[in-house]
Amino acid sequence: MEHNEHHIILKTENLSIGYTSKKEQTIIASNINIELRNGELIGLVGANGIGKSTLLRTLTKVQNPIAGQVLINNKFLEKQSAIDLAKILSLVLTEKLISKNLSVFELVALGRQPYTNWVGNLTSEDVAIVNQALEQTHIEDIKHKKCFELSDGQLQKVMIARALSQDTDLIILDEPTTHLDMYHKAYILKLLKKLAKETGKTILFSSHEIDLAIQLCDSMIVMTKDHIEMDQPCNLIRSGAFEKLFPKDLITFDENTGSFRIKK
C-alpha cells in the first residue's frame, strides 16, 4: 500500500492544448506539466473559457494535443486503443442521458460493457461489481427505479456509480456539481473524496465550486490565462494562485476563509 501511494496514474509532459484547423493553430494553453497520483481527489478550476474542457478533452483522448505528451499508467495515451483506455479511464460528462427509460441498475451495469461478451451478458462477477458500485454511492434503495424518476442529485450519483462499475484507475468528471443545490454540491464532492480514499482511484473533476474544492481536494489544478499550476490547496493559497483566477474589479480572494468575497 505504501508503495502504491506514489503511483502516478496520469502525467503530462510539456503538453500544449488547443485546436487545429486547416488555416491555423489556436493554442489555448501550453507547457502543462501535471501529475495525478492514485487515491487522490484533484479539482480543476479556472474561469469560463480558459480551457478546462479542452484540457479534459485532451486528457481523455477526445481531441489530440498540439504538442507534448499525455502518459497514462506510463504509456502514451495516443497509443492506447479505445477498448484498453475504457479499462483505465471512465468519464462522467455534463451531457444528458439519451434513454431515461433505463433502470438505475441497467445504467450502472452498462459500465461493464468493456468487459462483457458480444451480446453484453453480465457474469456473476459483473453483477457483484455493479452492486458494489451501487453500495459505494448509496443508491441501492433506488436501483430498480427508472432514470426519469430521479432528481438531478440522484442522477449524478448514478452516473458516478456507472463510472465506478467501469472499474478504472482514473475517473474524470466534467463539472459534476452543476445544476445541484448547495447541499448536493457538497454531498457529491464529499462522496468523490470518500471514493478516492477508499478505492485508491484517482478522481479528477472540473468545477466552479472553488471554496468547496479547496476544502476537499488533495491537490488542485488552477488554470489562468498564462499559467497552469498544480499543488496542494494550502500551498496554492499561499502562493496567491487563486488571486489570479479572475479579473480584480468585482471579487477578491480571502486567504483566511479560502473563499471569494464581493468587493463592496
Binding site: A82, L93, N101, L102, E106, Q113, W118, G120, K143, K146
Partner: protein
C-alpha cells in the same frame, strides 16, 4: 432476486399469438377452405380438393411468410433507427430507402414510354420492378452513407436522409407529370404495397438478404445498448462509434431495402411497432426489445394482412392503407394516454 427483469411470460404469450395469427392468416382468404384441410395441406397430407392444396402452399403460405418477414424486418429496422438517431419519430425509411425505391420504380413505370414499346414489356415485368426498387434505394442510401461518413453528428445524417428524400419525391413528381394515366395508376398501385404475388423462388432470395440484415442487427445489440448513454459515453466505453453506426445502417438498409423491393413501401409499421412493443416490454434493453419487436411486428403484419384480404370475397384492400389505418390511431391514443414516449 434477479437484477434485470426477465419477460418470459410476455414472450411466451407473443409466441403463441404468432402461431395462432399465422394459422388464422392462412385459413382466411378469398375462398373458404375448411380448417381441417388447411392443416392437412400444411403437413402434406391429402386435402378434399386438389386446388385447395395449391392455394395454401403456393399462395397463402408464401404470403404469410412474407408478412412475417415484412413485419419483423420493418419493426427491427425502426427500432435500430430510433436508437441510432435517438429520435422517437425515426423509422426504417429515414435514410431515404423508400424514396429511393420509389424513384427507381417511378423511373421504370413512368419512364417506360421513353424506352419504346418492345423494351417496355420487359421493363414492366416483376423482376425489373424489384431490381429498380433495389437499385433506387441502394443508390440513395449510398449517397446518404457517403455524406454520413463526412459528418460527425448523427443528427445531421437524419436531416441529410430527409433532404435526399425530398429531392427524389420532387423527381417522382416531375416524372408523374409526364406519365400517362395508366402508368400513373400502376405506379400508385405499387405504392399501396403488396404481400402476395411472391413465388417461393423470390421468397428464397428475399429471406437470404433479410437474414443477413437480421444477423447484423443481432450483432449490434451490445453497441445499441451502449449508444443509449449517448455517443460520448459510448466512446468512453471503448465503442467504435463509426463502425457500429455503419453496421446499424447496413442492417437497416438490408432489411428495409429488400422489403421495399419485394413488397413495396409499407408505411407506418417500422415507426409504430417499436413504440407498441415498448408498451408491453417496459425496457430499453435491446437484448429484450429486439426479439420482442420481431414477434410483435410479425403478429401485427399478419393481422393487417388478414384484414386487408377481406375474408370470403375477392376484395383486397391496399395493405398500406390498413397498416396506417390501424397504427396511427393507436399511436395517437398512446400519446394522449401516456403523454410522453420514453425510450
Amino acid at each position: 432476486m434477479t437484477p434485470i427483469k426477465t419477460y418470459n411470460v410476455p414472450f411466451l404469450v407473443l409466441a403463441i399469438l404468432l402461431v395462432l395469427c399465422f394459422f388464422i392468416n392462412i385459413s382466411l382468404g378469398s375462398i373458404y377452405i375448411p380448417i381441417k384441410d388447411v392443416f392437412n395441406s400444411l403437413i402434406g397430407t391429402e386435402t378434399s380438393q386438389e386446388s385447395w392444396h395449391y392455394i395454401i402452399t403456393n399462395y397463402r403460405l408464401p404470403k404469410a411468410v412474407t408478412a412475417i418477414l415484412v413485419g419483423s424486418g420493418l419493426g427491427i429496422s425502426g427500432l435500430l433507427m430510433q436508437t441510432l438517431f435517438r429520435n422517437p419519430l425515426a423509422g426504417p425509411f429515414v435514410l431515404g430507402i423508400s424514396s429511393g425505391a420509389s424513384l427507381g420504380v417511378a423511373t421504370i413505370i413512368l419512364g417506360s414510354g421513353l424506352f419504346g414499346t418492345a423494351f417496355a414489356a420487359f421493363l414492366m415485368s416483376k423482376w425489373s420492378i424489384v431490381i429498380a426498387a433495389s437499385l433506387g434505394s441502394f443508390l440513395l442510401l449510398f449517397a446518404v452513407l457517403i455524406t454520413s461518413l463526412k459528418v460527425r453528428d448523427t443528427m445531421a445524417i437524419l436531416i441529410i436522409g430527409l433532404m435526399f428524400a425530398s429531392i427524389t419525391s420532387s423527381v417522382v413528381s416531375v416524372l408523374s407529370y409526364f406519365g400517362s394515366a395508366e402508368q400513373l395508376q400502376q405506379y400508385i398501385f405499387w405504392g399501396f404495397g403488396s404481400l402476395g404475388n411472391l413465388s417461393w423462388h423470390e421468397l428464397l432470395i428475399f429471406s437470404i438478404i433479410y437474414s443477413f440484415g437480421l444477423l447484423i442487427s443481432i450483432g449490434s445489440i451490445k453497441s445499441l445498448n451502449t449508444l443509449l448513454l449517448g455517443e460520448n459515453y459510448a466512446k468512453s466505453l471503448g465503442l467504435n462509434i463509426k463502425r457500429s453506426r455503419f453496421a446499424i445502417i447496413i442492417s437497416t438498409s438490408l432489411l428495409a431495402g429488400t422489403i421495399t423491393a419485394f413488397a413495396g413501401p409499407i408505411a407506418f409499421i417500422g415507426l409504430a411497432i417499436p413504440h407498441l412493443t415498448r408498451q408491453i416490454f417496459n425496457t430499453s434493453n435491446h437484448k429484450i426489445l429486439l426479439p420482442a419487436v420481431f414477434l410483435f411486428g410479425s403478429i401485427i403484419m399478419l393481422v393487417c394482412d388478414s384484414i386487408s384480404q377481406v375474408p370470403n370475397s375477392d376484395l383486397t384492400l391496399p395493405i398500406n392503407a390498413i397498416t396506417a389505418l390501424i397504427g396511427a390511431p393507436v399511436i395517437i391514443w398512446l400519446l394522449v394516454r401516456k403523454r410522453k414516449m420514453i425510450f
